[in-house]
């Protein structure tokens, strides 16, 4: 099964969860998502998601200056982001339980 489609639905949640652990810049978030098992996640998708969540007020952002290279843009959680994470996490638990239940029912 193509997990990309599945991933699209939960990328916001996954990104929020990773940033909630610790502030991070784009590629750092990508790396942590992959380390967490989401191997197929696309860099650009993560960057786009970070920007969208920022624009929606779920994330805050700050630039860490660099003297000899490009500045890094770090993202951190806002209260709105935490609330969104909690709500989406609950939804996900409920949803996945439901789907799991369905699947187990279909299997038996």
């Amino acid at each position: 099964m193509d997990t990309t489609q599945l991933l699209k639905g939960v990328l916001d949640l996954a990104v929020l969860a990773v940033v909630d652990e610790e502030d991070g810049y784009g590629y750092d978030v990508v790396r942590r998502l992959r380390a967490g098992g989401l191997d197929d996640v696309g860099d650009a998708s993560v960057y786009g998601t970070l920007r969208r969540l920022y624009a929606a007020g779920a994330l805050t952002s700050y630039v860490v200056a660099s003297e000899s290279g490009p500045h890094r843009k770090y993202y951190g959680m806002t209260p709105l982001g935490r609330a969104q994470l909690k709500s989406q996490r609950d939804d996900w638990v409920h949803f996945s339980a439901t789907v799991t239940h369905l699947l187990e029912g279909a299997h038996t």
């Binding site: 590629y27 960057y47 920007r51």
Partner: protein
């Protein structure tokens, strides 16, 4: 992971190419979306090598989709920034410029950024002044007013141009969609305006200039052609009188430097008398007075009749004296001499005592 990263050329090219796909966004939006991208791509390349860089177009499309932006598509179905190459070049130039500018000491770039609105007003002003220069006062070499005249249109035009210029500066006009050629045009117009600021300022009417012109007006009204003048008006003839107040004929005049007072010839209007000089052998002597005069025809200016000595304006003048100075002792010329030197008119002269 180090925070100090250098951008490798392949990363730079890739990032610029991605930037070009966001040409429809205004600069702030673009910075919000793409700020930090170079650092992220640098990390990617550090970890997986340049081969990890795929197609910038596909990358941009994925980024746009994930960020919730509309994907712009051309009729051919490609994701299309209007002029990707031009935009990429301009973005490159801008990035390079900002890199150089931010390196200036004393936050000079920050200062310049703060005075940008001033430049928006200046370029509007230059634009209206150019119109004035082409079709208004400036066109008649009359100089430019600080508020362009252009009859009553100058001020409203200036206000309109200022509003347009500021809106362009704020990215509210012209920039969206930010197509490559429009950016080039804007850049060229800015440079053009910048280059013309000195010319416009130079053409402004200042108090000093008005004074200088007025002075020029006064001196300019004096005849520039050789000859004698009094208070700016040409003197056609001179009538000398001696100390006793009697008219003299045939007086040679020179100035303190020995220059002969008089002109080589006298301009005359058709119908007015023309002057005829005395002669020194075959040489005309225009510094000997009174000059003879000869009437001319109003129709063609040709002399008519013989030259003759014009009557002096006064038969006599009051006698004059100066302490310690003895006036010249004059000899009245013989009538026979006048007959012999008919062409030159009557002779006369002073003889030093």
């Amino acid at each position: 992971m180090s925070d100090t990263i250098r951008i490798s050329p392949e990363v730079d090219v890739f990032v610029q190419a991605v930037h070009a796909h966001f040409a429809d966004l205004d600069p702030d939006e673009r910075e919000e979306l793409l700020g930090g991208l170079a650092a992220d791509i640098t990390d990617l390349v550090d970890e997986h090598g340049p081969g990890a860089l795929g197609d910038p177009g596909a990358y941009a499309a994925e980024l746009r989709a994930a960020a919730g932006l509309a994907v712009t598509r051309s009729r051919r179905g490609h994701i299309l920034p209007a002029s990707p190459k031009v935009d990429a070049v301009l973005d490159n130039m801008r990035a390079e410029w900002e890199r150089l500018a931010t390196a200036l000491p004393g936050d000079a770039w920050g200062f310049l950024q703060s005075v940008r609105p001033f430049w928006w007003l200046v370029r509007a002003w230059v634009a209206v002044q150019l119109i004035d220069l082409a079709w208004g006062n400036g066109g008649y070499n009359a100089g430019l007013d600080v508020i362009p005249s252009l009859r009553w249109l100058g001020f409203p035009l200036l206000v309109a141009a200022s509003v347009i210029s500021v809106q362009i500066g704020r990215g509210k006009l012209w920039s969206a969609p930010r197509r490559g050629m429009r950016r080039v045009a804007l850049l060229l117009l800015n440079l053009f305006a910048l280059a013309l600021v000195p010319a416009v300022v130079d053409n402004l009417v200042t108090t000093a200039k008005v004074h200088s012109w007025y002075g020029g007006y006064l001196t300019g009204s004096a005849p520039q052609e050789p000859g004698l003048s009094l208070n700016g008006r040409p003197v056609r003839n001179i009538y000398p009188y001696d100390a006793a107040g009697k008219p003299l004929v045939g007086v040679q005049l020179v100035d303190e430097s020995g220059r002969r007072l008089g002109a080589d010839s006298w301009a005359f209007e058709w119908g007015s008398p023309r002057t005829v000089p005395w002669m020194n052998g075959r040489t005309e002597a225009w510094n000997v007075f009174p000059l003879s005069e000869q009437p001319t025809r109003a129709r063609n200016g040709r002399p008519t009749g013989d030259p003759s000595q014009p009557p002096a304006p006064y038969a006599v003048l009051p006698p004059v004296t100066l302490t310690g100075v003895t006036p010249s002792d004059l000899v009245v010329p013989e009538p026979v001499t006048r007959g012999r030197e008919d062409r030159s008119g009557p002779t006369g002269g002073d003889r030093s005592p």
